[in-house]
Symmetry: C2
Amino acid sequence: MGFLAIADQPEREPIPGFVGRFSSGATMTSVSWTIAAGALLPEHAHPHEQVAHVLSGEFELTIGGETQRLRPGMVAFVPPNVTHSGRALTECRIIDVFHPVRDDYR
Amino acid sequence: MGFLAIADQPEREPIPGFVGRFSSGATMTSVSWTIAAGALLPEHAHPHEQVAHVLSGEFELTIGGETQRLRPGMVAFVPPNVTHSGRALTECRIIDVFHPVRDDYR
C-alpha cells in the first residue's frame, strides 16, 4: 500500500466516541484513534491479534479479565479470540494494529 | 503477551543509530525506535510485512524505488520481500509493527 497520511483517510466512528482513521496493507490493518474521555469499549473478541500503543491520554483496558491503566509508552497485545473491553479515562490517542486485515475496517 | 511498558524492554541497536525496544505477541512484533539524526537504514528486504508510524521527526524512506519524506502522522506499509532503505533527516521516533513475528528481534 506504500505511503499515506493518516489525516487523508476518512474518519469513521464504529463505536461511540472512538473516531478512527484506517489503513490496510496485505496482512495488517492500522487504526489511528482519537477517543473521547469517558467513551466505553464494549466487551468483545475477534480472531485478529491486536497490538495497541498509547500515544497520549489514559485508557483502562481489560484483556481476558486482567485490567490495567494504559498510559503513553505502554503497549498491550490482545491475543486472538480473547475478550477485551475498556474505557477512556481521558481523551486518548491510540494506534492499533491488527493481524490479519480487518475486512470490517477496510 | 498482555500489557507492557516500552521503557521496561531492553534497548538494542541492531543498526547504528537505530535504538529499539522490542515486544512480540503471537503474530506480530512491535518496535519503538529512537533514531539518531543522519542514521542510515541500509537497503534490505524481509518476508515480513511492516507498517511504520512516525511519531516525531522526519525520516526519508524508499520502498521499492519510491522515496518519500515521512513526517508525524504519516504511515508507510512495506510489503513482504520488497527492498527498502532510508535515513533519518532529524532525530525520529517511529513505531514499526511486523507480521509475522521477527524471530531476530525476540
